[in-house]
């Protein structure tokens, strides 16, 4: 019985040692290189991704039962983008946002409405949708970010609900019928590879890959900036951060708006490829799935988040054989994952140090193993 009880911890520890060693040496090798070397490697990695991943053969292996050209950019790509955006809010600033779908919806409906009613070009709508999502993040955040912790969670959850219900109830955005026939983005320079059509997923994949690249780049820069350090301080101890002169409210608002804008970009992209949206696409389950991806991968660590998002988006497609049972399996997998590895697949190094230190960035009121842990508000 004792051995059985210890099993999760042992397995977790073994994985941790292994991933630590690999991670540390990879990290050292990476930072030892000059800038041009890093740039070159990123470019090579991207070229490989761009050529290999969208190919039919990979699709056959990765998702034999569904159209890889659709699944890859529209589901996996957009999902990774959204997880990167939510990571800014949850992973960096440590706020629990259960209504992230709201910003996805703002992006999606910006694309839908501006493209079909105003006939704007996709390349104009993309920044416009991002701006609209960021603005709605500010509007939602301004009154609610003064609240703490779990109150914020419930308010954002409520807001996510309001968005999809309102989209359903109002008529100017098509109500429950949604918006059909959203135009695809125009092609670039008449290149055959970059014609955004119906059957070929490749151009969309390149587009989403480019946006993911921008999001990762910005997130890395932000993390090391004054704001990023402020976020981490807020995440670890809000009162102490406030006392040390971190403008907590303003920084939280920033992280909310930045996270929102990435979600908005995801929405625009989705609408442009799917060329159809309706309120059911923006249900609150989406918020939950994105959050699960962030935590599963290891909140705060970009590669962890990307891996988590990929798993959450891809696994259900891969296992379409179990059509009926896949959400059941997904649910059980979440429980098992959290038991064996509560800090996620690839946690950020700083996060892990926190966990070891206080029994988990705000443990559940009553930790038994780690003494000295305190219940966070």
């Amino acid at each position: 019985m004792m051995a059985l009880r210890e099993a999760p911890r042992r397995a977790g520890d073994a994985w941790r040692r292994l991933s630590d060693r690999a991670g540390a040496s990879a990290g050292r090798a990476w930072s030892a290189q000059p800038l041009w070397g890093k740039t070159l490697e990123v470019l090579v990695l991207y070229a490989a991704l761009a050529i290999v991943v969208p190919s039919h053969a990979v699709g056959q292996v990765m998702a034999p039962q569904s159209a890889w050209a659709v699944v890859l950019p529209e589901q996996i790509g957009v999902f990774i983008l959204m997880a990167l955006g939510l990571n800014v809010v949850v992973g960096l600033a440590g706020m629990l946002d259960l209504g992230y779908v709201a910003f996805y919806a703002v992006g999606g409906y910006s694309m839908g409405l501006l493209a079909t009613r105003q006939h704007w070009d996709f390349w104009v709508i993309l920044p416009a949708g991002i701006a609209a999502a960021a603005t709605s993040g500010l509007i939602l955040g301004a009154p609610t970010l003064r609240l703490r912790g779990d109150y914020l969670a419930i308010v954002t959850l409520g807001f996510g609900q309001i968005i999809s219900i309102s989209a359903n109830n109002t008529s100017f955005d098509g109500g429950p019928q949604g918006i059909p026939q959203i135009p695809h983005p125009p092609s670039i320079d008449h290149l055959k590879q970059l014609t955004f059509g119906v059957s070929d997923g490749r151009p969309y994949f390149y587009l989403v890959l480019a946006l993911i690249f921008v999001a990762v780049f910005l997130a890395r820069r932000l993390e090391r900036s004054r704001v990023g350090r402020g976020w981490i301080a807020i995440r670890e101890d809000e009162d102490a951060a406030e006392l040390m002169g971190v403008p907590t409210y303003r920084f939280r608002l920033w992280s909310f708006a930045i996270g929102a804008s990435v979600g908005g970009a995801g929405g625009v992209l989705y609408a442009a490829q799917a060329n159809y949206i309706d309120p059911t696409i923006f249900s609150y389950q989406v918020s939950i799935f994105v959050l699960a991806a962030v935590v599963l991968g290891g909140s705060g660590n970009l590669f962890g988040v990307i891996l988590g998002a990929f798993m959450v988006a891809w696994l259900p497609e891969r296992f379409r054989v179990f059509q009926n049972d896949r959400i059941l399996i997904f649910g059980l997998a979440l429980v098992v994952m959290m038991i064996f590895r509560p800090e996620g697949l690839l946690p950020s190094r700083r996060r892990r140090a926190e966990m070891a230190d206080v029994g988990g960035g705000g443990g559940m009121g009553a930790p038994l193993i780690a003494p000295g842990a305190e219940a966070e508000d």
């Binding site: 999760p8 779990d150 419930i154 807001f159 109830n169 979440l334 509560p342 038994l368």
Partner: protein, 313 residues
């Protein structure tokens, strides 16, 4: 928007709101007590409620109830239903604690990890019923005939309305007394205040947490029975929206606060029906959440404040 229909439907809305509100209040206990003790959003509690509604359905099916009985048989049937539902929900809540929360707690996992584990457990439980039972809504026999007891303005108050409201309020008061006056209640309050010191003072932490989940589950079982008595239908995801509302009720009243759950539940129930009569029934849910946001802006810890720990005898 129509104030006329608000006036015309005032009494029926009030009665319906109080009925739904009492169910929310009982349902909210599982959220509010677990939050008070563990500082954790008990996301899977909606499924504890769902299991309760399914248990009542099972009782009615097994006993071949096709018409509402009367007299002592009705009382007996209600008792059987509520006991079975409480057992089923209580068992589910305890199971959740053992499987989805306790292993994480032992490893000192973050609350975010526990939330994800709860979400996973919630999906899994829903799917078990969705896959192995049915994804369609199941109508069940009305346990009580809707005999009108008295009228209140335009509202016809039926016997099941009364049963729901009275049971809800009585259970809430009883539980509040339990936590405020008994030794066991003192243990809960101690853990809510400071788990570490409570442990040092000889409180068995694991047992208190388990009982907290159990009580939340039992009350969800009562709520589920009342839900079935009044709405007589269920579905594999029946707990989801009411669960969200019940949690909102707990937050609105002041999370961790038992009286707050009652106040929050009743307020949300009333708001839903008043909101529906003013803005139309499709705006029922947005109204609730907008009011929640507004209340939290004025009183950031809910109407009565958060205080499972500070409850005094």
């Amino acid at each position: 928007m129509s104030l006329h229909s608000f006036v015309a439907e005032f009494w029926p809305s009030t009665v319906d709101g109080l009925v739904l509100g009492s169910i929310y209040a009982l349902f909210a206990l599982g959220y509010t007590m677990v939050y008070g003790v563990l500082k954790l959003i008990n996301f899977a509690h909606s499924e504890v409620f769902m299991v309760g509604t399914m248990a009542v359905l099972a009782v009615l099916t097994v006993l071949h109830v096709h018409t509402p009985p009367g007299g002592f048989i009705l009382v007996g049937l209600l008792l059987v239903c509520v006991l079975v539902a409480m057992a089923a929900s209580g068992f589910t809540a305890v199971l959740l604690e053992r499987v989805a929360y306790r292993p994480l707690r032992r490893r000192g996992a973050s609350r975010l990890a526990a939330l994800i584990s709860a979400i996973g457990a919630s999906f899994a439980l829903q799917e078990v019923f969705g896959i192995y039972y049915t994804r369609n809504a199941t109508e069940m026999t009305a346990i009580m005939g809707n005999s009108v007891v008295f009228t209140l303005g335009a509202a016809r108050v039926t016997s099941d309305d009364l049963l729901v409201i009275i049971t809800g309020v009585v259970m809430m008061v009883a539980l509040e007394r339990l936590v405020a006056t008994t030794k066991f209640g003192r243990g809960i309050r101690a853990v809510a205040q400071d788990p570490e010191t409570a442990t040092l003072m000889g409180v068995n932490l694991d047992r208190i947490i388990l009982y907290t989940f159990l009580i939340g589950g039992l009350m969800a079982g009562v709520a589920a029975t009342l839900f079935d008595v009044h709405y007589h239908q269920t579905r594999y995801d029946v707990g989801q929206l009411p669960g969200l509302k019940a949690f909102t009720a707990a937050v609105l009243g002041g999370i961790g606060n038992l009286r707050g759950a009652l106040v929050g539940g009743l307020v949300i129930g009333l708001l839903e029906f008043y909101g529906a009569s003013v803005f139309g029934s499709q705006w029922r849910d947005p109204v609730v959440f907008i009011v929640l946001v507004l209340v939290l802006l004025v009183r950031p810890t809910g109407i009565l404040g958060e205080s499972l720990a500070r409850a005094r005898a």
